[in-house]
Symmetry: D2
Subunit: 366 residues, 4 copies
């Protein structure tokens, strides 16, 4: 941490700043340039609030260098195991095969969700998603079947074994969902809802925390810290697009967030190309890209007859398209494994001049 | 096209609007709702400027439905062939193996570019990039060696055969570059520089047109139209990140633009993960993602000793990392071909219930 | 509303769409162009959810022309009266003198808030703001004194008469706040927290609803609709800056939202230049601008010794600066009244050529 | 400037960094914390390019603290005098009455511009704007009458005396415009066109440099530096809205940039509410706000019959509305002067308790 002091501060006041820190048991050092005096804090002060420092007389500005999310950054590469019914256990993250989380935007009825659960499983899905409580921009749009939908999801899990992911929007809904939902989802609109984060942080369920509509990576890290500080380390991250000026897609999918978040947190990161793009035709190419840059899974909206979906119809795909995505995921995964193997060979001994990589074959003599 | 008429327009004035259109040889129809009168234009008016319609008395608003970029949208899926030296010909787009365009941000000297050209070729690059004229935010930063750099690039092409991509920023520079550069690059800062677009549109060189720093897809399409209208159809597009609120990356790489641009234009689309992310560690994962979602190539900044690069040091990779990216490109390409083959099989006859896609193997019994 | 039909739909299917609408009692008309068939809905369907239409067989796309926020748009220009203690009543909106809502970011103690309440009142404030529950990006930052702070605010109201504005973040906090708070504030992070909006919509307190961090005007209108639909029409809007790429200010204050929101809703609109800019030196000029473009008030963070503020120190002003802002508000208000008077004169009869507006005095003969 | 050294650098290498700096005549000091070694540069190195430092062996990162735009930041509060015809001289900035720059988006013909010039002058304009060369998103839209328009503008200046502001987009156009244009405008699309900035920097005309569509304040400062470094200090800045996600306005007018730019540069700053909002009804309220927060002028699009404007019809106002804006500017200016006077009184002696600011009159006893 750096404390930039006020300009033209008297010598005795500069020393008082250091003394104040020392009284708090903090080691610090004065650094002077021609135009500024700065205090370097040598001790680890990540757990202390910023105002402890900004309040000190003479301090003009506080610059944190080290992490302010100690729990997130201390987390090591980790996988999360999720149990469904019928002894099904799905591992996400930590090098496990990518999860394929699929299902309808909203649970529309018992028959619908049972049929769809069967079909997405057949197509290759490893988890079932389905909205019971839906946050809707307009109060006149369909807001989900609520508790009724939860019981349908439970039945779908019983029949297929697939673990269930579903969103909760209030503390009351968390309680209702605990029995029927295997992963509690916090939607993009609630990433800053700190009361809710603390609530799900006090459960022992894995949490799928979506990045906020226009949340910075740093705000996202802090939201995870809220959940972890409440005692729950099982957090799955989800890049779902950020809001930009571009209007051809619903949001802008920020795929560089995937390797960035993985290196910053070690937590599993999945990608939701359905909400990110809002366009059916982009779900498949963006799923491919997500897996290629290291995502631990994709989460897609599937509907038996997408055009009839009560909500978000424009972005839902059908089970046949899901099957293709499952195939994509499998093939791209294999190629990533092949790359890893080739790379260990490469780094061992091979003289660089010898390798003639296939991409070079786009050159030909005329 | 729809012409929304002014509210409470008198009947004779409504009819006059239609008559005015008819006099221009345009077929139109009046549609009335309880609150609005709208004129539907049935004729193809894409090539007519909007003000021809907004100027008509009684017209409150003009809504274009069909394309205002006829040349771009009439373009069919196409590849572009680029010639280097030594009979080397590289095809980009149209299903050709992805191009790997690599080289330094700036040409720093003859020796540097010759050594680097050799090394990127060995590592798998199919084209050489190198800045002769550099647009720099600050007038005090290194702005390129200019005409001198062009002669070095020419020599690098002669020795390696690699076609050369280099940026031009003014009409004068276009003229200077014609002899030594095989693809004229228009940088993000100049996407709206219509004088320059017309100038390169009048050459017979392929143009690599980068998307503007915060250009919408629609503005990007219009910029291509400028080049095509000047007579040059050989346009290669380049997604290089857009400006957003996120500060952890230099820009936000908008990969969904890749399949979107390909479907809208049929033109080759490459991705520049170096400028998009501004972070060396993200260049490789984003190159993988780019290829996976259908990009026709990637363009990356390479430096022998990246930390010593005069410009953009933080995002340059070394030739060893480039070689790994070449390998990635090759492997992911193969997996895309395998997917295509599997898919044609899939769509033929196979009963969906039988397929148990590999991704499902992340489920195990406990 | 327009229903764009699927391309190449058979005639009988087109007619079936219209019949389906008719069965729902909705009047509609078919419009054909060379490339598209569109159904115009003539009836008022604003209160019906979009999926009622998108679900109809053959409908490819639904375009709403008229408002989907009937309660917000039916609202007429209106003022809201807020009662403090000691028979103090403050009117906001509807042409009343601008409100000046001032106080600390956080209530830090009883003495602090009592002293500050007295000082901001003396300086010209008409309402007191003070955070009891603080949403903080980091869980390690000071999150407010909670219920304790509410009792201090109550005491501050009792002593000064000033109505109290304070933020609530959960249904539980709404209940706690009802007794001591006169305007319930919903912060920017909770604009999409629909459960909370419904909760405050069911109270009879005026609500100050801040625009979300990156909320569009349309999403903002829908959030108001949630509150109104729950029965509460007393909504005060607050522009507090939106998130953009610019990093010199904390957010970008979108002042054009002020006249826009006033014309769209008729509700009172206040501006928060403290959170918008995050810079003490910009609070005063932006307060002036807010009043000049028609805001019904400004809401500013004040601290006795701003540099010591526990939270948001960089943007707090001191009471002396508040007094200057109160003076600004008063003077600019007077000039707006003078303009109104001059304008009524102007529009009456005055020959335009005669008026030599003062601004022209910047011309002089050399 | 701070040089962050590579982690775990050997002592002799750390010392070599400092020695290398000393050889360049630069004074520096080593600062060690538990986790990092940093070199503080004490000398003024603002004029040196960053790569001089990033190239030094062992330097991991360069952080500039002081300005990298020495010419801009050394500039002191200054006004610019612009000469029209007939001995008319208009001063802009430095406390002069706000400039009112008005005229059509495009010069459409001689008669049009002459009539409009007369009418805007009568309405209170102090300068005439009019596009001869128009940058248009689509190549099919009207791009201006070019050199012909320049001769019309010259004639308009001769008749009214008003100085003329017009945009140039290429070096060739600069030459053409020198004779007939009094202020050369660089449009938002060309703020990054460094060749053009250097060109206008080598003229002796005042330059009106618009902020780029999504330019940061810092990039804007560097663009000014380009002009000043070429020898021209007469730069007028113009905030014209930035690109954000909000779609209800054409751009988002960033008025906080006005006081920010004035404090950073001392240069005159004008505001263009026409392009910023793209909505006729918002031009007047935003002009008021601009003046209230300290703008040195506003620049608005005026058309005799706005709905017939060939370009940008939706945002043009008519001369009657301009006259109202001129009146607004005059009244708000007077109120700012009254505030200044009251404030000097206020700061002298007045006991704070005595002042009862008018805004407090919104409180009444019930």
């Amino acid at each position: 941490m750096l404390l930039v002091l006020e300009p033209a501060l008297e010598e005795k006041n500069i020393e008082r700043v250091v003394r104040t820190l020392e009284e708090l048991g903090i080691r610090a050092e004065i650094v002077r340039s021609s135009s500024q005096v700065v205090v370097f804090v040598h001790s680890d002060v990540r757990a202390l609030p910023t105002h402890k420092f900004s309040q000190i007389d003479g301090v003009a500005r506080v610059i944190r260098i080290s992490s302010s999310c100690p729990l997130v950054t201390m987390n090591t590469e980790s996988s999360i195991e999720v149990a469904g019914a019928k002894d099904v256990r799905v591992t996400i993250g930590g090098g496990a095969p990518p999860a394929l989380i699929a299902g309808p935007c909203s649970v529309e009825g018992l028959e619908q969700i049972l049929e769809l659960a069967r079909r997405v499983k057949t197509a290759g899905a490893t988890m079932l998603r389905g909205g019971a409580f839906k946050p809707r921009t307009s109060p006149y749009e369909f807001a989900g079947l609520g508790a009724e939908a939860l019981s349908y999801l439970k039945e779908a899990r019983r029949l297929t074994g697939l673990p269930v992911v579903s969103e909760v929007m209030s503390c009351e809904q968390v309680e209702l969902a605990l029995e029927s939902v295997d992963i509690l989802q916090i939607g993009a609109r609630n990433m800053y809802n700190y009361e809710l984060l603390k609530e799900v942080g006090s459960t022992n369920k894995p949490i799928l925390l979506k990045r906020g509509i226009s949340a910075t990576i740093d705000e996202y890290l802090h939201a995870i810290e809220y959940i972890m500080l409440a005692g729950n380390n099982q957090v799955i991250l989800c890049e779902r697009g950020i809001r930009t000026f571009e209007q051809r897609t619903r949001n802008t999918l920020d795929l560089s967030a995937v390797p960035l978040l993985k290196s910053l947190t070690g937590l599993p990161v999945v990608v939701d190309p359905s909400h990110a793009t809002g366009k059916r035709s982009l779900v498949r190419p963006m799923s491919r890209a997500a897996i290629a840059c290291g995502a631990d899974g994709v989460m897609v909206e599937v509907h038996s007859t997408p055009d009839k979906s009560i909500s978000d119809a424009e972005q839902a795909i059908d089970p046949a398209e899901l099957q293709k995505i499952a195939m994509d995921v499998s093939h791209i995964c294999k190629s990533l494994i092949a790359i890893d193997e080739a790379e260990s060979g490469l780094s061992c001994a091979q003289p660089a001049e010898v390798r003639l990589v296939a991409a070079a074959s786009s050159q030909s003599s005329g």
